[in-house]
Structure formats: C-alpha cells, structure tokens
C-alpha cells in the first residue's frame, strides 16, 4: 500500500467523523476541494466535483444547520439522520480511495468510515437527548454549535492537514465512546439500584 493510499484512508476516516456531526459539511468541503483540484476523486464520484453538486450540498447544509437549532425537532432529526450520516461517511471515504482495489475501497469505506460516522452520530444523539431531558431543550443550541464547529474544523483539517485531522478524529471517537460507555454503565447501575430499593 502506497503512502498516498494511507493518507487518503486517513482523510476519508476524518471526513466520516465530520459527517457524524453534520452530514453535508464534509461533503461540501470535499466538493469544493475537488473542484479546486486539491483532492482527486474516484471516477465514480466525479459528480461531486461539479458546481450543481456544490450548490445542492450548500443548500442542504444551510437547511440542516438551521434545523438543528429548533428544540425537540433536532431530536427527531437525529433519528432520521443516523443512516444518512453513515451513508455520507461511506461516500466521503469511498470517493477518496482511488489507489485501492474496488473491494478494499468499499470494505474500508463501509466498515471504517461508516462505523466512524455512526459512532460519532450516535454519541452526539445521546448527548442531545440528555440535554433535552436536563435543560428542556434550551441547552441544545450550544451542542448544535459545538457540533457545527467540530464538523467544520475536522473537515477543513482533513483536507489541509490529514494526519492532524485523523489524530483529532481518533481522539474524538475514543472520547465519545468512553463517555457513551460511562453513560450506559451509569444507567445500568441506576436500574439495578432502583430494582433493589
């Protein structure tokens, strides 16, 4: 495997992590980067490097960002966006893996990138759900803003400094997984305690 292929895997995984926060932000970043010639896309994803694709993605991104600022609507959007986030992660990753055989390209995209996007999205969904329960939805715009900043930061870093973005994405995935596990274990203990008392 060439160093270029390794870097493209890293960029793909980092973009997938960004897709876990906001679906259309990394896709728009990828579309703009491909149009400017910064990255080379796989021939089957050449449609991403067109102006109509950028316009459509930018419109969808604006709507998505706005929708996450509506309390309680954002929780429903989380449910709906989960499979789409995984799909966006797969598309973002598969479009960059040009030097690999087709089976390996899709294996990495589906397992690695799809999994990364899914884990990040599930963790932020749980966090938003907790915020909705604790603050009656008033804390959700803060989470939405942090998600947006995280998504933009990781997507831009993935294209400009892939190694830093990958390290950031790995740290992020480990951190959110630990938080998610801690929350799950905490709930389990709570359930046991409520059964015993």
């Amino acid at each position: 495997m060439t160093p270029e292929a390794l870097v493209s895997i890293g960029v793909g995984l980092a973009l997938a992590a960004a897709a876990g926060f906001r679906i259309f932000v990394p896709l728009l970043a990828l579309s703009l980067a491909a149009q400017s010639g910064w990255v080379e896309l796989s021939p089957s994803f050449a449609w991403l490097a067109t102006i109509p694709a950028s316009v459509a993605l930018a419109t969808a991104m604006i709507l998505e960002i706005a929708a996450y600022y509506v309390p309680f609507f954002d929780n429903m959007l989380d449910t709906l966006a989960a499979p789409v986030a995984v799909l966006a992660g797969i598309v973002a990753s598969a479009s960059l893996l040009t030097d690999l055989p087709l089976w390996l390209q899709y294996a990495i995209a589906i397992v690695g990138a799809g999994g990364t996007a899914g884990v990040v999205h599930a963790s932020t969904s749980v966090l938003r759900l907790k915020s909705s329960a604790l603050t009656a939805g008033f804390g959700n715009p803060v989470i939405a803003t942090l998600e947006l900043v995280g998504s933009i930061l990781i997507a831009v870093l993935a294209l400009l400094a892939p190694v830093i973005a990958l390290v950031l994405a790995v740290v992020l995935v480990v951190a959110v997984t630990n938080r998610f596990n801690a929350w799950r274990l905490g709930n389990g203990r709570g359930a046991v305690r409520s059964r015993t008392h």
């Binding site: 102006i51 109509p52 316009v55 459509a56 930018a58 969808a60």
Partner: protein, 45 residues
Amino acid sequence: MTLAQFAVSLAVGILSVVLPLVLFFSLVALLVYVARCWLDRPGKS
C-alpha cells in the same frame, strides 16, 4: 452554470432535507392512525 441548472440544484438541496422529514412524519402519522383504528375497533371488549 445556467439559471435552470442553479434552480434544479437548489431544489435538489432543499428536497434532500425536506423530503426525508416529510416521509418520516407521514410514517409517524400513519402509525398513529393505524394504532387509533386498532384501539377503536368495533367489538373490542
């Protein structure tokens, strides 16, 4: 890029967010309707 292409791209962007939401809420409404019909069915003891 022509104005028509721009309009189509804009519509695709809007529909990609709005259409799944409409489908989701339609499905929820349908499920609620079916559940109410099931609960109010004639001959229910």
